[in-house]
């Protein structure tokens, strides 16, 4: 569990230290543009080496400073550890764990499993399928590093096939790409299904305990849209995709797009067969999306020894007080929470928390 954070020269945060002391959670409130998101971003960067929002690390370093430094103190099974990360304006990253220089963030991610969730979490089920695919791919990739390598290769083949569709004069020129896509696609779909099964089991437990909606059965349904959706067809996935690619060869040729494969798939959550996206309110969609992130984090943290940390950036907007009063203590029982919001109204819902106010990048107690 994390018990101290140091941040030096990160955006508008000049030099701050957050101590969890005997508490478990951290509650930071303040008006807009004071540095709440910057604080959570810096904590995330300690373990991942990248910002959850910004692709350019340079933008996180103040213009008049050469580097940003973040530090985190945490314990695992009673042993204390310290990690420091330095980001230079040249793009270099220096990581040190317990005084030893390390070259990869992978061990830190295992020791401090964390996720950042903003108000945009609603897009998980209210947004486009690519948002869900990206989220699922990231989750499966963290569960299984081989998945990331296979996904990367699949994407490379897909780019080449796409270029072949646009440039070649012969429809059969895509065959050499399809022959590579089919086995890779099967591996991707099988691993997504395994991950969704774990997620579905965990989410069913969460929803049963919380009682946010009345239902008896929850399903995370994988939708191979281009193959006709049906799960019972997956045992012959390779054959099915091969057949579809053969039948749709001319269609792909005319549209100049890769129309079939896991890059077109989607997943949805259903309560007794009713789709979360279509039959439930935005507040419930937001709450379930948040619980999906908690479930993912807990599944990931079960593989290592580290205690999970959830960074909640005003993520409970649109959720009513009754549900907030259920959600925050529930999530807190499963993960440590660093929570930012504009006022102190949620303070009583979050148990065992240190409360800080942030003004112009400076934190003060209470």
């Amino acid at each position: 569990m994390v018990h101290k954070i140091w941040i030096k020269q990160h955006r508008n945060l000049e030099n701050i230290m957050v101590s969890v002391n005997q508490s478990r959670n951290v509650y930071v409130y303040g008006l807009n543009n004071q540095g709440k998101t910057n604080f959570l971003e810096a904590v995330y960067m300690c373990a991942f080496g990248r910002s959850p929002q910004e692709s350019e690390i340079n933008h996180c370093i103040p213009l008049d400073k050469p580097h940003s430094v973040m530090g985190v103190a945490y314990d695992i099974d009673g042993d204390s550890h310290q990690a420091y990360v330095k980001f230079s304006e040249t793009g270099q990253k220096e990581i040190s764990l317990d005084g030893q220089v390390i070259t990869s963030f992978r061990s830190l991610q295992k020791q401090i499993p964390m996720d950042y969730v903003s108000a945009d979490v609603i897009r998980l089920f209210q947004g486009y399928p690519d948002t869900r695919r990206r989220d699922l791919d990231q989750f499966v990739g963290q569960l299984d590093h081989e998945y990331t390598a296979i996904l990367k290769r699949y994407s490379q083949v897909l780019k080449q096939k796409s270029a072949a569709l646009k440039e070649s004069i012969n429809p059969s020129s895509v065959d050499v790409w399809n022959d590579q896509l089919i086995p890779l696609a099967e591996v991707l779909v099988n691993r997504r299904l395994l991950a969704l099964k774990q997620l579905s089991d965990k989410l069913q437990l969460f929803m049963d305990e919380l009682g946010l909606v009345e239902f008896s059965k929850l399903d995370c349904l994988y939708q191979a849209k281009s193959l006709g959706d049906a799960l019972d067809q997956f045992p012959n996935y390779q054959e099915k995709l091969k057949q579809k690619l053969k039948e749709g060869r001319l269609k792909e040729w005319h549209s100049k797009q890769c129309l079939y494969g896991p890059h077109r798939d989607d997943f949805s959550i259903r309560f007794d067969g009713k789709s979360l996206t279509n039959f439930f309110s935005r507040g419930i969609n937001r709450a379930v999306s948040l619980l999906v992130k908690v479930a993912q984090l807990q599944i990931l943290s079960n593989r290592g020894k580290g205690f999970p940390l959830l960074l909640l950036d005003d993520a409970l907007a649109e959720i009513d007080d009754t549900n907030r009063s259920k959600l925050l203590p529930f999530i807190s029982a499963h993960t440590q929470i660093f929570y930012t919001t504009t006022d102190r109204s949620d303070e009583n819902f979050l148990p065992e928390c240190m409360v800080y106010q942030i003004k112009k990048g400076v934190l003060s107690n209470g």
């Binding site: 590093h145 390598a149 296979i150 080449q160 070649s168």
Partner: protein, 185 residues
């Protein structure tokens, strides 16, 4: 200088300052050698390896095995295979790999020339020594369909762990291929 492969801005600067620190004769000699080499080097008419004459030193060598043909992507691959001193057959250089993103389609490669060599040659085995990349695999699949009509034994190089390597540091796809290609001991 920074346009050269594997040379970044800093290395290019270091090389430029190195040349400036050398005497005029040394730099002239280097430049002359580069220009002469570029002018005199051509592709072998038979295998398309780099050569100083119409036929390269490998195609002209009567001692090479005329029954085995190794198909590679680039001339530099011929040098890599030759370094092993393990292969004594002939070569065919395709001149690249299928990559629509780079505008390289099968028609651009020397596949038709390969087919003609096989028709008129005495080859009984073809070894495809192609990089195991996405583009390499696409080229392998394409060649396999083209060569199917020839009834000639066709093999590809085994994929797997490098000598002296450590299983712990092998990436997942390589390890998977090593398992598929495991051999008896």
């Amino acid at each position: 200088m920074a346009k050269l492969p594997s040379v970044g801005k800093k290395s290019a600067q270091r090389l430029a300052f190195h040349f400036l620190s050398q005497t005029q004769d040394v730099v002239d000699q280097l430049a002359e050698t580069m220009v002469r080499t570029r002018r005199n080097i051509r592709y072998c008419d038979t295998c398309f390896n780099i050569s100083l004459s119409e036929r390269c030193h490998i195609c002209s060598d009567a001692g090479r095995d005329e029954h085995v043909l190794c198909v590679v992507s680039e001339p530099r691959d011929v040098f890599s295979v030759e370094r092993t001193h393990h292969y004594h057959g002939h070569y065919h250089v395709l001149g690249g790999l299928i990559s629509p993103l780079d505008g390289i389609h099968p028609e651009v490669l020397r596949i038709q020339e390969l087919v003609e060599r096989l028709r008129s040659g005495t080859f009984t085995e073809i070894i495809l020594a192609i990089n195991p990349t996405v583009e390499g695999d696409a080229t392998l699949l394409y060649l396999n369909s083209v060569l199917a009509s020839f009834q000639i034994k066709t093999t590809k190089l085994a994929y797997g762990l490098p000598m002296g390597g450590d299983i712990e540091y092998a990436d997942e796809l390589t390890l998977q291929q090593a398992f598929h290609g495991r051999t008896g001991i």
